[in-house]
Symmetry: C2
Subunit: 297 residues, 2 copies
Amino acid sequence: MSREPVNLVEVGPRDGLQNESRPLDVERRVELIHRLVDAGLTTVEAGSFVSPKWVPQMADTDQVLDRLDLDAGIHYPVLVPNQKGLDAALSAGAKDIAIFGAASESFSKKNINCSIEESLDRFRPVAEQALGNGMRVRGYVSCLVACPYEGRIEPNQVVPVVRAMFEMGCYEVSLGDTIGRGTPKQIHAVLDALLSEFKPEQLALHCHDTYGMAIANIVAGLEKGIRTFDASVGGAGGCPYAPGASGNVATEDVVYLLESEGFETGVDVEALVETGKWLFGELDKMPPSKVNQAYQS
Amino acid sequence: MSREPVNLVEVGPRDGLQNESRPLDVERRVELIHRLVDAGLTTVEAGSFVSPKWVPQMADTDQVLDRLDLDAGIHYPVLVPNQKGLDAALSAGAKDIAIFGAASESFSKKNINCSIEESLDRFRPVAEQALGNGMRVRGYVSCLVACPYEGRIEPNQVVPVVRAMFEMGCYEVSLGDTIGRGTPKQIHAVLDALLSEFKPEQLALHCHDTYGMAIANIVAGLEKGIRTFDASVGGAGGCPYAPGASGNVATEDVVYLLESEGFETGVDVEALVETGKWLFGELDKMPPSKVNQAYQS
C-alpha cells in the first residue's frame, strides 16, 4: 500500500542557527545542508540576507549558496527582509526566497519596527520583483495563536495577513506558532478559519516546541489536511522569548511521528539523528530533540 | 462555563524517582509529596514496597507513609510486587496499592522472570487480600503498543491482561506506553479495542515521552474519552531502556495542555513548575519538562 507523502521544510540552517548563540562558519553550514539533503530532505532553508550586524549567524549566506548546486532539484529558500536583501539574493543566484509578516501588531512593531500593514506594503514590490525574476516566494506568518507581547491571537487577526501573502504571489504560507504556546484546539480553530478561504496544500505549519506541544499541534494540522511542516534538525534554534527553552520542533521528532502514523517523508531518520548529533557537537550542547536523545542512548 | 474535570495521577515520587540514579532520602521524598499535594494533586504515588536491594531509591517507603496524613482525602498509592510487599503495605497503613502486568511475554519474562499468566496468578491472592482489607487496587499494564524486546504489541495482546486486572477487582487500569514509542493512531487503535469492553472512566493513560510523543498521545486519549492521566513532575524518571532519554511525561506539560484545551485539572501549574525546579535541583540535573524550562526562562 502506498503511503501518503508529507513535505518537510528543513529550517535548521536558517531559523535554527540564527537563534543559536554560537555562529557556524560557511564551511560547516554547507556541510550541514549537504548532510540534510543526503538524509532525504528536498527543501532546506539555506540562510538569510539580513545585516550581519543584526544576525551574525547568517553572515556570508552568499558564500553558502555559492557552494550549493542550485540546479539539482533541491529547493534552498533564503529569507529576505527587504529590497536590499532581495538584491543580494538575486546576485547570489537564489531561486527561492521567503518573506514574512506577523499576525500581531505589537510583534510587528517590536520585531521590525513597523505596523503589519506597513510591513506588507514594503514586501509587495520585493515579491513582485522576485516573481518577475522567476523566483518562488514563500510567506511566513508569525504569532499564529499567541504573541509574546499581546498573548492570545485570534483567527480573524491571522486570515488577512495570510491573504495578503497570497495576493503578493506566495506559493505557500507557513503558519508559525512563534512562541510555541498553541495547543490542538487553537490550531484547529485557526486552520478552520483559514481553510474556509485557502486550500490545505497552500499552507504549512511551523511549530515551536517551547511548551512541548509541537508534535500534538502537528497532529492537529494533519487532522485538518495540512501536509507540509517546517522543522529544524535536532531542534536547533532556541526561543528568543524564553532563553534556555526550546524553539523549533526537531525534524527527527516530526519524521518519527509521520513515519509511525503511516506517512511517507522520504527522510532517513537515522541519517537525520546522525546529522543532529554532529550539529550539536559543533554547537557544544545537547540537542533538544527527544528522538535524537532516544536514538543516541 | 464550568470546565470538564480531568484526573491526574502524579507518579513522580515512585515511578519517577525509582528511575533516577540519585536516591533521595525520606525527608526529601516527603517534602516532594507535600509540595505536590499543595500544588493541587489529589493522587500521588508515594513509593513502592520492593526490595531495596533491587530498587534502593524506594527504600523506607514505610517511613514515607508514616509521615503522610493518610486520612486527609488524598490518595497515596504504593506499588506492591507480591505478597511480601502487600504485607509491608498493610503494616504501613497504606489504603491504595498498585499491581502490574505486561502485555508482552518477553517483557514479563525479562522484568519479573515469569510469564504474563504466572504474574497474574501471583497477583490474584494479593489483590483479593488487599480488597478484603478495604484497600483500593489499581492495575498497571505495561507495553501498551510496544515492547523494548519484541517491538510492536497488538491490541489483542493488551485486552486480556486488562480484563484480568479488572477481574481481580482493580478500580482502574493504567495503560503504559512503557518505552514511549506509541503515536496517536496506535493509541486510538488499542483504546478502540479496550473501549469495546470497558468504560473510558475505568482506564488511565500512562505515557512516556522518550520519543517526544506523549502529549500527542494524551490528546489521542482525550479524543477517545479518557480522563485520567499519569504524569511525573518535571519529567522525573529516565527511560531504563534508553539511558539518558526521557521517561515519564512531565506533569507540568500535561497540566499546560489540559488547561489550554479547556479542561479543569485543579493543579496550579506555577506551583508545579516550582516543585519540579526544586526536585531537579536535588537531583542535580535539568528537568526534561519543556514547560518547566519555558517558565524558568
